[in-house]
């Protein structure tokens, strides 16, 4: 079946502009994660959705960042008043959590990411 998809693949914007990044998870996956990967670093957690609700948004760096998942499937990461420091690859992952098992069914599957460049 189809994997996690993210659009756009690349986004170039000017400082101060608003951007939206989209993530289409694997069909049926209830958990969705956003990560940010700066150059030369490992991904850093931003926000986690279980269904439609943000179960953990502790990784969002400030109130310019916001994410939604209104129907429990597609998610959009929104960044207001972009800054040059926001330039990074934004990764999305989805999983189907399995409670109380060791079968590894809740593996996080990643999309190819959106490379955001703020000029």
């Amino acid at each position: 079946g189809a994997g996690v998809s993210q659009t756009p693949s690349n986004k170039v914007t000017e400082k101060g502009k608003y951007v939206e990044l989209r993530c289409d998870p694997i069909s049926g996956h209830t958990a969705l994660y956003w990560y940010r990967q700066s150059l030369g670093q490992g991904p850093e957690f931003l926000i986690y959705f279980q269904g439609t609700g943000a179960a953990d948004d502790s990784g969002l760096p400030n109130d310019r960042f916001f994410a939604v998942r209104p129907e429990g499937s597609v998610s959009t990461l929104k960044i207001q008043r972009t800054e040059r420091g926001d330039s990074a690859v934004y990764l999305c992952a989805s999983s189907s959590p399995g409670a109380g098992t060791s079968g590894g069914t809740d593996t996080q599957y990643f999309g190819p990411g959106t490379r955001l460049t703020v000029l």
């Binding site: 991904p43 850093e44 990784g59 399995g98 109380g100 590894g104 809740d106 996080q108 190819p112």
Partner: protein, 117 residues
Amino acid sequence: AQTVTQSQPEMSVQEAETVTLSCTYDTSESNYYLFWYKQPPSRQMILVIRQEAYKQQNATENRFSVNFQKAAKSFSLKISDSQLGDTAMYFCAFSMNYGGSQGNLIFGKGTKLSVKP
């Protein structure tokens, strides 16, 4: 807070040889998962191998195996019979274990592995 440290920014290995990538982590928790992810130039993170902290037996997946030392908080990845397609960034990652479900992943900075013909 949990941290993951990868002390080898870059490594290289000859095709068909064996290479070991190092990872240490810090946590006060006892129930967690550890992972190795591979990230080729396409940017897509691919799970290589996963270890549950409560399991003493080291995980293996074909040519990939880990050496999990819980007391030392060490989690190294061994790649046997290296292939050109193994060339990629490798990230060690940690997540909490919530009754069998993962939490968010905490990644190290990565090791760039080059397999030479």
